[in-house]
Amino acid sequence: MAGTPILQLRNLTKVFGNFTAVNDIDLDFEEGEFFTIVGPSGSGKTTLLRMLTGMEFASSGDILLRGQRINDLPANKRPTCMVFQSLALFPHRSVGQNIEFSLKMKGVDPAVRKARALELMLQLRLPETYYSKNVTKCSGGERQRVALARALAYEPDILFFDEPLSAIDYKLRKTLEKELKDIHRETGKTFIYITHSLEEAMVMSDRIGVMRAGKLVQVGSPQEIYSAPQTKFVSEFIGDVNVIAVTAIGAASLRAAEFATNLKCLPVPAGFTAGYLVVRPESLRFVGSPGETDNCLEGRLYNEYVLGSRVQYQVRVGDHVFIVEKLRQQAFGGHRDDKVLIGWDAEGSILVTD
């Protein structure tokens, strides 16, 4: 990343009645990056995006586009464009007319419009014959591309995406995620994407911002979010994780009251008294004896789930459910209800706050 901010948010807040949807957000989006805002529904991500596009106006704080305050500029005057969740294509218009819409609004000559639309269709791998096809007759993936082409035709400085892939089946979604990332490379534009799926965010983004209850709780690269979540919320958002409530009792040791045992961990940060120890399923191992790893718990093998290239095991320690993940080639040979020892090393765990 070059590090030139294109869009800057300063104390951005949106209040509806007595509900604060977006709470005091400070964030810089860099020129040309693919930034994804992730959060569960109701976390304020859609409201935030609507403020960025100009469809909603901020209650307080500022939005700066290349240093210019654009708070009060309506959507049709902003050099940004959004791909909607429903795609919001014009059902009474053809593929070509949809793509050309913004050019028609600007009064561009029809021949020039058509040339530009065909160019974009080529770039997005839409057959030329689709130019006069009714959009409602296109498949889900094709409509996705039409929506993207329509937004690109506007020549926006920033492209926003409001979960456009959420209604698409898994396999096609995976293809389109990669396609979108390729298009991001080809166009070099700044993409700001919102989704509730961190998995989707991981695949595409240069940076991810996690939102919770109107606040931005962590911003970082996909690697950072994955390997160094700062809170239990962020760590759990990624998917299956094992979370143990702990209190600090030494420089690198913790008390896990639930299992009446002490655990070793990496040096406890200053000021940390109580929180959670997060252990990813792939950091957990089945061990033969307690000394093999820094920490060890005894449990009962409850179930196994085959996930294609990986296999997950559910191990119950008392009432606490642990998930252990192995590659298929290294599958564990245990049987249901076997007594098993699961262990992990201090480096394989992350200490987070609530």
């Binding site: 596009t53 100009g54 469809m55 309506p74 959507a75 049709n76 464009c81 959004m82 909607f84 969740q85 429903s86 919001a88 294509l89 014009f90 059902p91 009474h92 819409f101 913004s102 609004m105 600007k106 009714n134 959009v135 409602t136 329509r150 937004a151 506007y154």
Partner: protein, 285 residues
């Protein structure tokens, strides 16, 4: 009997009563009217030489003027209603919020009172020395010309009576336009007016067209407004039909006028529906 049951499923069997009713109540009288339009004037038997004489008579007498009046008034009613109702429909869907239900109810309420009662109420209100002019006279001393028994009031009465039939289909049409589609057009640089022209208007067209057809068909058949509010200053075609079948005892002429009216209205409806394929407009096909 058993075989009959097998050939006709439960659907057709259950449709038998309503089919019989429509056959007797709708198809048979319609056929009778069509047949009568061809028999010689002022006769009552169908079993004689048929001709087009009654149709020729329409254009040789002044009846075609009534035709033009009816069509003209209906077109004017539809145009005025379109202009008046679209903003209200838009407001009901997008602006009035929780007041929309109450406002809809207020618009629907007059439908519960007989049309004749409402029209005579208008007479009492607008007539010389009536509620409006009488009050003005006794309170302020103005004396104004009454608008009762004018063509203008006939038109106003028609607009008033048929308003719900334009407003409700239109409201439905406007509410069918997805908000995200409007937002998308706005986001793509369209002005408010362009959003209206490019998205709102075409996507609400099915409701608008249904409103047009409904009010046009009703207005062409309007009778009471011209008779009561217009004081028979203009004679609508329905009035001529009524006269032919009653006082004049000229059923064949009345039948011919009726058939011509049905043909004109039917052709217009077909043309409009061909021009505006409702499914294509909303992108269902």
């Amino acid at each position: 009997m058993n075989r009959l049951f097998k050939t006709f499923g439960p659907g057709p069997r259950l449709a038998v009563p309503i089919m019989l009713f429509l056959l007797g109540g709708f198809a048979a009288p319609l056929l009778a009217v069509i047949a009568y339009s061809f028999v010689p004037a002022r006769t009552f038997s169908l079993w004689q030489k048929w001709s087009l004489g009654n149709y020729v008579e329409i254009f040789q007498s002044s009846i075609y003027i009534s035709f033009l009046w009816s069509l003209g008034l209906a077109v004017a009613t539809v145009v005025i209603l379109a202009i008046v109702c679209y903003p209200v429909a838009f407001g009901l869907t997008r602006v009035f919020g929780r007041w929309a239900t109450l406002i809809t109810l207020l618009f629907a309420l007059p439908l519960f009172v007989s049309e004749n009662v409402r029209i005579y109420g208008w007479i009492l209100f607008f007539i010389k020395n009536g509620v409006l002019l009488g009050s003005l006279k006794s309170l302020f001393g103005f004396e104004l010309e009454s608008i009762v028994f004018t063509t203008g009031l006939t038109l106003l009465g028609m607009v008033y009576v048929y308003l719900p039939f334009m407003l409700f289909p239109m409201t439905l049409g406007v509410s069918m336009v997805p908000q995200q589609t409007r937002d998308a057009a706005f986001d793509l640089g369209a002005s408010r007016w362009q959003v209206f022209k490019e998205v709102d208007l075409p996507l609400s067209m099915p409701g608008v067209v249904i409103g047009f057809l409904l009010t046009f068909v009703l207005a062409v058949g309007a009778l009471a407004e011209a008779k009561v509010l217009g004081g028979q200053r203009v004679i609508p075609i329905t009035h001529d039909i009524e006269i032919a079948f009653t006082y004049a005892q000229n059923w064949p002429l009345g039948a011919a006028v009726s058939v011509l009216l049905m043909l004109v209205v039917g052709t217009l409806v077909l043309l409009v529906l061909r021009r505006f394929d409702l499914d294509t407009i909303v992108g269902r096909r």
